[in-house]
């Protein structure tokens, strides 16, 4: 499997209103690994994910997903599991109904696995989607993704609003998923501690631009945190201080590892955590945008797909199926 890419974005730009939501975004993930997409709220994480999944058009650049240039064939979605911070299922559906609704769309749906996963995650088939807590809803979406045998799991802010127990469970679920070397995970977060350990690759995004991307260990190795007294970090030659923070009792900054040797012995030089890199590193961002226009969406589908869609629509109405309910409800 070596050499296969789970996905790649090359020079992707996406406009919103008059400006750019993303500018020259390029990063890639080899198949079989986890990547964390890190950035503050509004940095462009969700936009990036939506572009990657073809849910949003791009103005420049190109996107490759599981070996297909996007927009790829619709069947590609069979291989991708998507977990957003809010469920995209009808609140009135019971979990058994979720399966009945989604199963017809997926070629490799595994009902046994769905039941096993719900059982493992402590979810009741009779529960309704709207009654699930955030953590449970996230686990339901993961169960759906794993039941249709997705190869790429994309999670947008899966840990926001989760308690530490649920976050820890998620790490375990991702670990299980990655036992198969053809499986890959992309997840976005603004809480970097989730990624400090399990992330193989990291992409730091700020203001719609990629600040840094690559193997996490390399990124961590590229920077050092320095701490010193209030006057220690001034008048330095040959050392660029990134994101300096000064208080009356001391100063703290990020420096490139190769420059750390030039610092005096009076300061404390330490290996950074992702958190310490994520914010200050956003300072040095570069910009250029070039590329080709996106292709028009691929077409072609079958009549039974329309039938399945009609069934789905039927299920949206299912709670009101009886006329009696209509009358009493009004």
């Amino acid at each position: 499997m070596t050499g296969d890419l789970a996905f790649a974005l090359r020079g992707v730009g996406s406009a919103v209103g008059g400006g750019f939501a993303l500018r020259d975004v390029s990063f890639e993930l080899p198949a079989g690994y986890v990547m964390g997409l890190i950035g503050a709220n509004g940095a462009g994480k969700t936009t990036t994910i939506r572009c990657l999944l073809g849910m949003r058009g791009i103005e420049t650049g190109e996107i490759e997903l599981l070996g297909h240039r996007m927009p790829g064939p619709v069947a590609l979605r069979q291989d991708v599991g998507v977990v957003f911070d809010r469920t995209y299922l009808v609140g009135d559906w019971r979990l058994a109904e979720v399966e009945r609704t989604l199963r017809p769309f997926y070629d490799r749906w595994d009902g046994t696995r769905y039941r096993e996963l719900l059982d493992e995650f402590g979810l009741d088939l009779r529960a309704r989607v709207k009654d699930l807590s955030r953590g449970m809803a996230m686990k339901l979406m993961i169960a759906v993704a794993l039941s249709h045998r997705a190869r790429l799991l994309v999670l947008d802010e899966p840990t926001s609003g989760l308690d530490p127990v649920a976050r820890s469970e998620l790490v375990g679920i991702i670990g299980d998923f990655l036992l198969d070397e053809g499986h890959s995970v992309l997840f976005s977060t603004h809480i970097t501690s989730d990624l400090d350990r399990i992330g193989d690759y990291v992409t730091l995004i700020h203001d719609g631009r990629v600040v840094r991307t690559g193997p996490k260990d390399e990124i961590l190795a590229a920077y050092r945190v320095v701490r010193g007294g209030p006057d220690d970090l001034s008048g330095l030659v040959g050392v660029e201080l990134i994101g300096v923070r000064r208080t009356s009792s001391g100063a703290e900054a990020l420096v490139r590892t190769e420059e750390a040797g030039l610092l005096g012995s009076g300061v404390l030089v330490e290996a950074p955590t992702l958190e310490e890199i994520a914010v200050p590193a956003a300072v040095d961002a570069a910009d250029t945008a070039a590329g080709t226009a996106a292709e028009p969406p691929a077409r072609g589908e079958r009549v039974n797909a329309v039938v399945r869609m009609t069934q789905l629509h039927l299920r949206t109405v299912a709670p009101y199926r009886t006329l009696g309910l209509w009358c009493s409800g009004c």
Binding site: Y33, G172, L179, E181, D200, K216, A271
Partner: protein, 137 residues
């Protein structure tokens, strides 16, 4: 197999894994041919990244402690392979170098050092004759 990782030791995680598995093999806790979990299974169990785990295994393999089977896992190699010997030899050299440095500061000469070494070996032989006998094989 027992691997306990520390977040605050300052030692990189891959190094910790490598040292602990290496030590277990050298001490005989992990016998020859023992199957080790696959990189991905160990990464999952330790809740760390695959790249980190992979690095530990790669280095252990490079030092002759284990052999990895792509897509499967890894198993422990016989201890007396040349690479392990080399590894042990390096440890001996490191230890002697440390002793040498201390000796220089204490003003001890070669004769003093040899005497200390002989004394230590004799003491060990008396304490645990079978163990040292095997080491002198």
């Amino acid at each position: 197999m027992r691997v306990v990782l520390s977040n605050s030791s300052g030692v990189p995680l891959y190094q910790q894994i490598k040292e602990q598995i290496g030590a277990a093999i050298l001490s005989g806790d992990l016998a020859e041919d023992t199957a080790l979990p696959s990189v991905r299974a160990l990464a999952r169990d330790l809740r760390i990244s695959i790249i980190t785990t992979n690095r530990a295994y790669t280095e252990l393999a490079a030092e002759g402690f284990i052999a990895t089977v792509p897509g499967k896992g890894a198993y422990v190699l016989p201890l007396d392979s040349a690479l392990v010997r080399e590894q042990l030899l390096r440890q001996v050299e490191d230890g002697l170098q440390t002793a040498l440095d201390a000796a220089r500061r204490a003003g001890l000469g070669r004769a003093d050092l040899v005497e200390i070494l002989d004394g230590l070996m004799q003491a060990e032989r008396q304490e645990n004759p079978s163990e040292t006998g095997r080491n002198h094989r």
